[in-house]
Symmetry: C2
Subunit: 420 residues, 2 copies
């Protein structure tokens, strides 16, 4: 049996329900065609909508993220690629093959439209999210390759250098990005690989990053996971259910940016590869670890008391100072100390083998969606870089910023308003 028919048999009912149910988090309620809750693997999220999927979608467990350089100067080729990517993403997120000719039923004298390693696997909650880097609008030498310079949002300026940055250019920046999240890494890898294959001759992969063990919840329905410091991460994250907070902190609104009208309903994605010196961290006493974070390791509760979701009391006194140290991570990045700004974080743990010193090349691939990086990311990152005790155990080795356009309607391609 071919992949298309197998996957269609398996996923059609679910996909249809997902589309009918609407957008964003609605997909989390996906049910099998018999009305029973769908197994994790068969979860399907709609591709089309007001916002791109993969932002407020309940964070899946696995990530493959890729940044691409556009290797053509042709605006037409770029638009053709975005059309082809949109079509393939709409298919794959519904558990179908990347192209109309599945991996095994094509002409024996032609390469298949799909690489085949996802044959028989369900959609696994796959979402595919596209973004545009600053260099798509103006190359590093200032060239306006695609006639887009006039539409570059002021918010999409390259990020400044931060203290603690030790960036590898080969792990930073990019003209385009694709974030593929799924509950099965083979499905996420399949998606990125097929998009890279479709883009052959138009784009080249600049860097890519695999991640596992989502380090933030994006829905109140999810338990808070743990990062590689062993602490819960993302307790105070903006959640999909907080519609007002999403509007205030995540989605670009009408009038936010004159040049960036096409971004209304979109968001800005900062991607930061943060190496953690886990071996050194692991030798710190439990009490010190908790003081660095400002929360307990067991429950993730603020050191001022209560449970995980209890509001930290930064005024409570302990031995010789605030019981939540002023240089603890929770204090430094808390909205109360950052003008009230919040981010929607969607990062993943990573382990990329071994570093030169025999330690694990491991850490957090930080992904955050914000309405404006100038107000919602840069000041917080600067404050963290200067004041956060945890910085001693972190090294930033990759960095990128992308404009993530709003969602597409059927028949449109991703970023269509940018090229209108």
């Amino acid at each position: 049996m071919s992949r298309v028919s197998r996957r269609t048999l398996f996923g059609a009912g679910i996909g249809a329900v997902g589309v009918g149910a609407g957008l964003g988090i609605a997909g989390a309620e996906a049910v099998g065609h018999d009305g029973a809750p769908a197994a994790a693997g068969s979860r399907t999220y709609p591709f089309h909508g007001d916002h791109q999927a993969g932002i407020v979608t309940p964070a899946q467990d696995r990530l493959h993220f890729a940044a691409f350089d556009v290797t053509t100067d042709s605006r037409e080729e770029l638009v053709a690629l975005l059309k082809a990517w949109t079509e393939a993403a709409a298919r794959m997120t519904q558990g179908r093959s990347a192209g109309p000719v599945g991996p095994t039923e094509g002409d024996y004298d032609l390469p298949p439209d799909d690489t085949g390693e996802a044959i028989g696997l369900p959609a696994s909650g796959l979402t595919i999210t596209f973004g545009f880097g600053p260099t798509l609008f103006r190359s590093e030498d200032g060239t306006d390759r695609f006639g887009l310079a006039g539409k570059q949002p002021a918010a999409l300026a390259p990020l400044p250098h931060f203290p603690g940055d030790d960036l590898d250019p080969a792990r930073s920046d990019g003209d385009l990005c694709v974030q593929a999240c799924a509950d099965d890494p083979q499905v996420a890898v399949h998606a990125i690989r097929n998009l890279a294959r479709i883009g052959f001759g138009t784009v080249a992969v600049r860097w890519s990053q695999l991640g596992f063990g989502r380090t933030s919840s994006t829905s109140t329905s999810q338990q808070t996971p743990r990062n590689l410091f062993g602490f819960k991460d993302g307790t105070a994250n903006v959640k999909a259910e907080e519609r007002r907070a999403l509007d205030a902190h995540v989605w670009v609104a009408d009038g936010d940016d004159r040049a960036g009208d096409w971004m209304v309903g979109g968001s800005y994605l900062t991607a930061r590869r943060v190496n953690m010196t886990v071996e050194v961290w692991d030798r710190q006493p439990l009490g010190d670890q908790e003081k660095f974070i400002g929360r307990t390791k067991a429950e993730g509760a603020p050191l001022s008391g209560g449970g995980e979701f209890h509001r930290p009391d930064f005024t409570m006194k302990g031995d010789g100072g605030p019981i939540i140290p002023t240089d603890s991570h929770v204090s430094v990045v808390h909205p109360d100390h950052n003008g009230g700004v919040r981010m929607l974080r969607r990062g993943y743990n990573f382990v990329d083998g071994t570093d030169a010193l025999g330690g694990l090349n491991a850490g957090l691939f930080f992904l955050a969606f914000v309405r404006d990086p100038r107000t919602h990311f840069i000041p917080v990152q600067n404050s963290m870089a200067h004041n956060d005790a945890m910085m001693e155990y972190l090294k930033f080795t990759g960095s990128a910023l992308f404009a993530v356009p709003p969602g597409t309607r059927p028949g449109e391609h991703v970023g269509q308003a940018l090229f209108a």
Copy 2:
């Protein structure tokens, strides 16, 4: 609630059943304490037994593999490490913390015995398998650091150079290895990290490799998965249920090796990192792909007909030659063409970011357990390197050989007979 108590509450019944049920594949039948089949995440395999777990155990979906250099010359410190590793592995495979003091209930002035990122996660089918490299017995300069040279099995000689090898020394060899397999990558990473932490000062990580999407079945209860060429992989693998084949091809038997008596019940593990040029492969016509493999892409059936498990007919004629080409992978590595030898393969797909040419740094981390690499691996690899059409799309970038000692009984440490 502390991790130990949470995980104990969750896993105790299952762990107890697992231990009681015996060894090896018995764990696959693990049931919850109510007698119902356990969910995938709560699967627990016994650590103790005649053979180490993680060989015939039904292949889990995720891998973290690490090779270590021993940084001490002290035999006592090496034995102390193996004792500590055995104890920690016995605990973690049962869903417990790495040491008696869990990650959150210890002295606040001391580092915890466990790093904490697996708090709240079930055992997830974790197995931990240990091996000894040739350099543990004799350093590259011939030094007998630990008084083990006289016990080096003849089978444990460094692998020869093969055509197609482009080995990175930083991804090859090692004095010790640990293979951690689990259904959750965070659990596998947690295991390797905690063993590395325990070994601090005695060993250093030499290289490590993450993998996903097991590329072989090791049990008839499993479906055959797909590699990154999109083809089923491991159809003809030695399976846990084939007791006679295991004895003939996988387990070291009494009398196999004079120096290696301590290896009876063990096996030899070859680890080969095989980069696949997937971008080039993806541009090959479907018919050519099938001729390279010798099987159909859809079903994995031999090109001579039948279903996946049908015996290939190498004599059947097609257009101008055998219908299964003589240089196809299935023909080159088939036992009929290799003196009847078989391997127990247990490899994983990997994607490690991007290569210098903008392609995916991706492929297969090949793991195979054999009774003797001189008869069961080296000739087959040589034949493949010389004759296999698939070699055009492969580059071997890492290689290592390890002696995997037999299993341990409670109170013993791994490799105890070697040091007796």
